[in-house]
């Protein structure tokens, strides 16, 4: 396999080109060539034993730490990844790639179709979590890393971590699976569907061809983001943050302006999201999450895997107030692994911050991730 690497200065990101590789997708479609935008942090050690792949969530990107040139803000997990942070880049070599189907430089609906000057748009093939992981595994291979020390992710990132454990257990030593599940639940699919309908009913969407007129279905995409954002919080956290407080006014307006702070906050979330995310990408990635389902197959896949997976360590973390990926879903993974006598650790962290807790200040999450990585790394180093 020949992989070409370049640096995109505008994106401040490395790009790996996989040409004539005929990536077969789970749907049966084939992408003949594709590219992945990725960032690395820290240094790969001489034995190449300290590489960690961080998988981003639905609207994340490769800018896990440092500056994100698209938003002009800090990377999405900069509180977790960096020198002396829980995922310590003084010790570990951290890789994060924009997923296949994403919109931060990797091949996705926003990018030009191979050999043409038109973007994919709605012609992009349907992709799954398995496809994303397959593409990532090619990236890791092209970086000449035989074995990742760890694959870490929350939410959609957790789905990828679990998929790594199923598909490439021989290429990893452990996974840290945060706020995830064996399957995307009916309720989660329902919320995604409302988001997609919001995008697709925006007249500017035009069957995914909005880019032809340099337009963006802003209304639809921002509504999708607003709905999704509610599901990432919890009732208590919302109440604590906003209550019924009014926004820039002392009395209610008897109209439909953003009277309440929570409305204003959601509108802001929607608006800023539109500036950084592609509507078609949102459709494809939410679909990929919907299709994720290892409910019936996980145990069998682990028990009868043709790649050896007995060595794998699993750290499963959930949050008490996460109603999108509730603790019970994490416990199903833990139960199945325990029934197979696998090396699994599980912690439910007590917080009111909802699904988004993994991105926020949660000292216990920091401690557990740091300790799990450090102590297990010592064990392989011995």
């Amino acid at each position: 396999m020949k992989t070409k690497f370049t640096t995109d200065t505008k994106l401040a990101s490395e790009i790996a080109y996989f040409e004539n590789i005929n990536l077969k997708l789970e749907s049966g479609d084939i992408i003949d060539s594709f590219k992945l935008a990725f960032k690395t942090y820290g240094k790969l050690n001489a034995d190449k034993t300290n590489a960690i792949l961080v998988c981003h969530a639905l609207t994340g990107d490769q800018y896990v730490a440092g500056n994100n040139p698209i938003t002009g803000r800090e990377g999405w997990w900069s509180r977790m990844v960096g020198p002396n942070k829980p995922i310590d880049t003084n010790k570990f070599f951290v890789i994060c790639s924009n997923v296949l189907g994403g919109c931060a430089g990797s091949t996705g609906p926003k990018e030009l179709q191979n050999g043409s000057d038109v973007a994919y748009g709605g012609n992009f093939p349907s992709i799954t979590i398995k496809d994303m992981v397959k593409a990532q595994s090619l990236l890791i291979e092209s970086l000449n890393i035989e074995k990742l020390f760890s694959v870490i992710g929350g939410s959609m990132g957790a789905m990828q971590a679990l998929q790594w454990a199923i598909d490439f257990p021989d290429k990893i030593l452990n996974i840290i699976h945060i706020a995830g599940a064996l399957k995307h639940s009916a309720q989660n699919i329902a919320f995604h569907e409302v988001g997609r309908q919001a995008i697709m009913s925006d007249p500017i969407w035009k069957n995914g061809k909005y880019f032809e007129n340099n337009e963006v279905p802003e209304r639809g995409l921002s509504v999708a983001r607003m709905i999704a954002h509610i599901t990432y919080l919890s009732e208590n956290a919302m109440h604590r943050k906003f209550g019924r407080k009014l926004q820039s006014r002392d009395i209610i307006s008897f109209g439909f302006d953003a009277d309440f702070q929570v409305e204003s906050y959601l509108r802001y979330q929607g608006k800023s999201f539109v500036e950084r995310f592609d509507a078609n990408s949102y459709l494809y990635l939410t679909r990929a999450m919907d299709y994720f389902d290892h409910d019936e197959t996980f145990r069998k896949n682990i028990e009868f895997s043709h790649n050896p997976n007995n060595h794998l360590k699993y750290l499963i973390v959930s949050f008490t107030s996460d109603w999108l990926f509730p603790t019970i879903e994490s416990k199903m993974i833990v139960n199945q692994l325990n029934s197979l006598s696998r090396e699994v650790s599980f912690l439910e962290i007590d917080t009111d911050k909802g699904h988004d807790s993994f991105l926020l200040e949660e000292p216990q999450l920091d401690d557990v991730i740091k300790g799990f990585l450090t102590n297990n790394f010592v064990k392989i180093d011995e």
Binding site: V334, S341, S345, L347
Partner: protein, 227 residues
């Protein structure tokens, strides 16, 4: 590697009951102290369950395989005979259904190690006799209304239960309140009077395939054979 001196006396006694290179489940493992000791001194492969969130987090952060959960609800997920030893140290008296837990221990493990404070100790008997109030001692330091210990039992009670459940006591160690150690089976008279803390190594006696009840209502596939 340096041998770690056990923090608790019963840990070092538990260690003496365990062979090298075995797979162990520690129920109520705290922050992993006993697991660490057994990994270092017995080259054990350890798993743990801990109900307390902060202790479980500490254990995981120290690199141990620990599941944050409730033994009374979560033991059913483990397969039959998936561990060489299952350890229940100082917690049987705090369980809602001690008998069920005991049979779960021997379903999951080939052997079980159970330690508990003896309610038949003379100090406890004396306290109840003289003061007429529920005893409060070093090993049972809680008041009756504020105690996690909901099932009090004596060595005699425990031996009767084992007998009823066809459980073999392979080894039993008693500790007096002064920390003197003795073999419970050899000193028949006064055992229940002087034993402050007891540690038992248990297994099943039957050579016949036996039915084991679990919350999943599955039956043990293989015969459980006492070594």
């Amino acid at each position: 590697m340096n041998k770690i001196n056990s923090i608790r006396k019963d840990w070092s006694l538990i260690e003496t009951l365990i062979a090298q290179d075995r797979k162990i489940l520690d129920i109520g493992c705290g922050d992993g102290g006993l697991m660490e000791q057994l990994e270092n001194n017995r080259n054990a492969m350890t798993h743990g369950i801990e109900l307390n969130r902060d202790l479980a987090a500490n254990a995981i952060a120290r690199g141990f395989n620990v599941v944050h959960g409730d033994a009374e609800l979560d033991l059913s997920q483990y397969s039959n005979n998936s561990f060489d030893y299952v350890i229940l140290s100082q917690t049987l008296q705090a369980m809602m259904k001690p008998k069920d837990i005991l049979s779960e221990l021997l379903r999951i493990g080939s052997k079980a190690i159970v330690s508990f404070p003896n309610f038949g100790h003379w100090k406890i008997r004396l306290q109840l006799l003289i003061s007429g109030k529920m005893p409060v001692t070093e090993s049972l330091p809680y008041t009756w209304y504020d105690t996690p210990n909901i099932h009090f039992f004596t060595i005699k009670d425990f031996l009767n239960l084992c007998n009823e459940m066809n459980i073999v006591i392979e080894k039993s160690i008693g500790l007096t309140s002064k920390g003197k150690q003795f073999d419970i089976s050899e000193s028949v008279t006064g055992v229940n009077f002087f034993t402050h803390e007891a540690i038992f190594l248990l297994s099943y006696k039957n050579f016949e395939p036996i039915k084991i009840k679990s919350s999943k209502k599955v039956f043990a596939k293989n015969s459980v054979i006492a070594n």
